[in-house]
């Protein structure tokens, strides 16, 4: 896979998302299912690694880029992640003119669609992520912890990594 193609694929994924993991469904569709340069396991690992390192959550694409095309792939992925940020500048102008009526509606719908697709993608990653009953229990416990407490995701993931060594 060429670096330009990787950049364009990741740009498409990041430019159509409004949250860190909003790009996961498009990344999976393009790189795992269509082009088969990444596995579900590697995608899951990229999400886990990004959660355990500083920076924006969308940074998992850098790990994806590295796995697909080495260090150059990581650089290309970082560029794809950064590119949509420049759109903020023309958006400021639109908002100041009060022309954001339709824009906000469109963005809200994209957030809704992204969330639904993230949940669908999560269900498809599940067989790789939680292949045993004990790991299913661990994932459910992690979800409940995140939903019911203020424990940060990084701590939950690191704890899961530690606990997995004691599982049957």
């Amino acid at each position: 896979m060429s670096l330009l193609t990787l950049y364009l694929v990741l740009l498409k994924a990041t430019a159509l998302s409004f949250s860190g993991f909003g790009s996961v469904p498009v990344v999976r569709e393009e790189l795992v299912l269509s082009r088969q340069v990444l596995t579900d396991e590697q995608l899951n690992d990229a999400i886990a690694i990004s959660q355990a390192s500083p920076g924006p959550l969308g940074l998992y694409v850098v790990t994806v880029g590295y796995v697909v095309a080495g260090f150059a792939g990581a650089v290309v992925a970082a560029l794809a992640l950064a590119s949509p940020a420049v759109l903020a500048i023309p958006i400021v102008v639109l908002v100041r003119r009060g022309s954001d009526t339709y824009l906000r509606g469109a963005y809200r719908a994209i957030v809704i669609a992204s969330c639904v697709l993230m949940a669908v993608t999560g269900s498809r990653l599940a067989p790789q992520a939680v292949p045993s009953a004990s790991l299913v229990v661990l994932a459910i416990a992690a979800f409940v912890t995140l939903a019911a407490t203020r424990v940060p995701p990084i701590a939950v993931i690191l704890l899961c990594a530690l606990l997995a060594n004691g599982l049957p």
């Binding site: 994924a13 998302s17 409004f18 949250s19 993991f21 899951n44 690992d45 999400i47 886990a48 690694i49 959660q51 355990a52 390192s53 500083p54 920076g55 924006p56 940074l59 998992y60 850098v62 790990t63 796995v67 560029l79 950064a82 590119s83 940020a85 903020a88 500048i89 958006i91 908002v95 954001d100 339709y102 906000r104 509606g105 469109a106 809200r108 719908a109 957030v111 809704i112 669609a113 992204s114 969330c115 639904v116 697709l117 993230m118 949940a119 999560g122 790789q128 992520a129 939680v130 661990l138 994932a139 992690a142 995140l146 939903a147 939950v156 993931i157 899961c160 530690l162 606990l163 060594n165």
Partner: protein, 175 residues
């Protein structure tokens, strides 16, 4: 650029996980030190939420623009992408090197289970506030996306674009 607050941007992106935590760090460093007004910071924060892609990167671009024009925008974006990007790339190198070790493989399996929980939790946490008003329209869009994205081979990026077009009509804010 000699007065550019490099350290504030470095600290925000290298010591914090996620946009919310990094934004709080930037607010403390930039607003409290009088480098930018609270109103300008809030404007950047709000517009970043409307910008496609990673919110944090859009916000630092706008803050850099305010602080030092186009050069400031480019510098803030470059720092906030390159520093954590390098850390992530190095973490991946370590992961690739040790992925075959039994203890590392078990830890990674646990981390995958945790990451899946985070992914589902993030989708639920982001989705619920979208139903605060215009619930029927919002639920209709969610259901249509679930049907098309979950049970057909409809391309997902196209689905997002179509959802955006429908939302522009159904969920627009009346003037």
């Amino acid at each position: 650029m000699s007065q550019f607050p490099w350290r504030a941007f470095m600290r925000a992106c290298a010591l914090h996980v996620g946009a919310a935590s990094a934004a709080a760090s930037l607010r403390r460093d930039l607003v409290n030190d009088g480098l930018i007004s609270e109103a300008k910071f809030d404007e950047a924060f709000g517009i970043a939420r409307l910008t496609p892609g990673t919110n944090l990167l859009a916000m630092v671009t706008l803050l850099g623009l305010r602080l030092n024009g186009w050069l400031g925008a480019a510098a803030a974006l470059a720092v906030t992408t390159a520093v954590p990007g390098t850390i992530a790339a190095m973490a991946t190198m370590v992961y690739v090197s040790y992925a075959g070790h039994p203890a590392a493989a078990r830890s990674m399996q646990g981390a995958r289970a945790g990451a899946l929980a985070v992914l589902i939790w993030a989708s639920v946490r982001l989705l619920l506030p979208q139903f605060s008003d215009r619930r029927v329209q919002a639920a209709s869009i969610a259901l249509a996306v679930l049907m098309l994205g979950g049970f057909t081979a409809f391309p997902q990026y196209l689905l997002l674009l179509v959802a955006g077009a429908v939302g522009a009509v159904l969920l627009r804010i009346p003037s």
